[in-house]
């Protein structure tokens, strides 16, 4: 497997076989992530975490992943206190960090930042989110969650719900689901539909994609419900937002018509899209999904930094 030394910028850079390898290694990392097994394969490795846009969750999951495997980290957690605040270019920041560390994890507010960083760095760069662009480790985590629940990614019916226009996680996830032959059902308000270029891309991949206006009809027979945040700032007026947000709120009544095995996923943090009453039920998978972010990143770090899968 040729992930050693590779940049991980977009899920599209990974083949189906490479994604499967990451998921396989991630699965083996679960007991280490839980602390019930010790593995120090990243002993002596130094990872730079450059979070030039604040993101506590993703930063801590990478930090945890590295440290669970015996690696160490140096961190820019707040751009306001770093040289970036003095106007340093990303290119210079990346060149400096690639001289210090063995690999670089980058979060940045501008789309394309990770691709640029990969050009400037002679060490591997892992994209931890670039603006509204790519966030491949989130997609890998989403896939790991589905894989763990069903043992496969192929042939499943996956409902993508909510903001399909701006939600970056959805575009990458749709690509990956298409790669594995899952069926994709889109449910969104008309103003937040999947952009044409994403739909065209999925068509070119030969994906099975269709739209469904009624959530309850989409949920019938669905294996996965992937809920996204609907952000207030995307709407011109408050009442329109309230209407849309209200119509996509998931609670036990909405889920009553779904299959027993249906899993509900959400990239978190949620803003009321899923009622707290769902948390204790059989469908809630979003906290497991959040946990799996750690073993997935452990698996990826292991493959990129050491080439070791087992």
């Amino acid at each position: 497997m040729a992930l050693k030394g590779r940049d991980i910028i977009s899920i599209k850079d990974l083949s189906r076989e490479e994604i499967e390898e990451v998921l396989k290694v991630a699965h083996r990392m679960i007991p280490i992530a839980e602390g019930s097994k010790i593995d120090r394969r990243l002993d002596g490795v130094l990872l730079a975490l450059a979070f030039l846009e604040p993101s506590t969750r993703t930063r801590l999951s990478f930090d945890t992943a590295a440290q669970r495997l015996g690696g160490r980290t140096i961190t820019i957690a707040d751009p306001a206190t770093s040289s970036v605040a003095k106007g340093e270019t990303l290119s210079d920041t990346v060149r400096m960090l690639s001289g210090y560390a063995d690999a670089l994890v980058l979060r940045h507010p501008n789309e394309g930042a990770a691709r640029l960083a990969a050009q400037m760095s002679d060490k591997p760069v892992i994209n931890a989110g670039d603006g509204a662009g790519q966030h491949p480790t989130q997609t890998l985590t989403d896939l790991a969650t589905i894989q763990e629940a069903y043992g496969t990614l192929s042939g499943l019916r996956v409902v993508l719900l909510g903001d399909l226009k701006y939600g970056r996680t959805v575009h990458s996830l749709a690509h990956a689901l298409a790669l594995f032959g899952a069926e994709i059902i889109l449910v969104s308000p008309p103003s937040l539909k999947l952009p044409d270029e994403v739909t065209e891309h999925l068509d070119q991949m030969g994906a099975r994609v269709h739209e469904e206006e009624q959530l309850h009809r989409a949920l019938h027979d669905a294996d996965v419900l992937y809920v996204t945040r609907i952000q207030k700032e995307r709407f011109g007026d408050e009442t329109e937002y309230a209407k849309v947000a209200g119509s996509y709120r998931i609670d036990n009544a909405v889920l009553s018509g779904a299959k027993q095995r249906l899993i509900v996923m959400h990239p978190l943090p949620r803003l009321g899209e899923i009622a707290p009453e769902v948390d204790a039920g059989p469908h809630a998978a979003y906290f497991r999904q959040a946990f799996l972010g750690v073993p997935v990143r452990m698996g990826l770090l292991s493959l990129v930094l050491t080439g070791k899968g087992t």
């Binding site: 990303l90 501008n110 394309g112 691709r115 662009g133 270029e197």
Partner: protein, 155 residues
């Protein structure tokens, strides 16, 4: 007997003829060529709205004493994909070819996404790959945004 040819633009000794430019696009082609960069003795001729068997109507630009850089040819290919470029040396056509869009286009157009890293003062040139050829759609290799409105984004 063939009808006498009417020469609307006089021949040039050395330089470049850009023919088969889409009707009305010659002024954009001039902007790409950068007329200000020419030496002061060079003549630039522009013919607008010329009858064409192939195209109905077309524009033609002739520039003396200048051969176009690959970058300028790429820019012309973007806005005038039907254009042909002839290199004239000593009044003779030495080379004639249609413009051809390469797979990667560097430094010719700005990414339309204002939040793209290439628009944020980094020491990097814009770079696009061809997402579709007919009609041409480009994709930014950095932010993956697609673009088909080239006129507004030429550098």
């Amino acid at each position: 007997m063939a009808a006498p040819r009417e020469l609307k633009i006089t021949p040039i000794k050395n330089g470049t003829v850009i023919d088969h430019i889409g009707n009305g696009l010659s002024l954009e082609v001039l902007r790409i060529i950068g007329v200000g960069d020419l030496d002061k003795d060079s003549t630039v001729s522009v013919a607008l709205h010329v009858r064409s068997q192939k195209m109905g109507w077309k524009d033609i630009v002739k520039v003396e004493n200048m051969e176009l850089s690959p970058r300028k040819v790429n820019a012309i290919a973007l806005i005038a994909p039907t254009a042909t470029i002839s290199i004239i040396r000593d009044y003779k056509v030495r080379e004639k070819r249609p413009v051809d869009l390469p797979e990667h286009i560097v430094g010719v157009a700005r990414c339309p996404n204002p939040n793209c890293i290439t628009n944020r003062g980094e020491p990097v040139e814009s770079e696009f790959e061809v997402a579709r050829r007919r009609p041409v759609v480009l994709r930014c290799v950095y932010c993956e945004r697609q673009m088909d409105d080239f006129l507004a984004h030429l550098i």
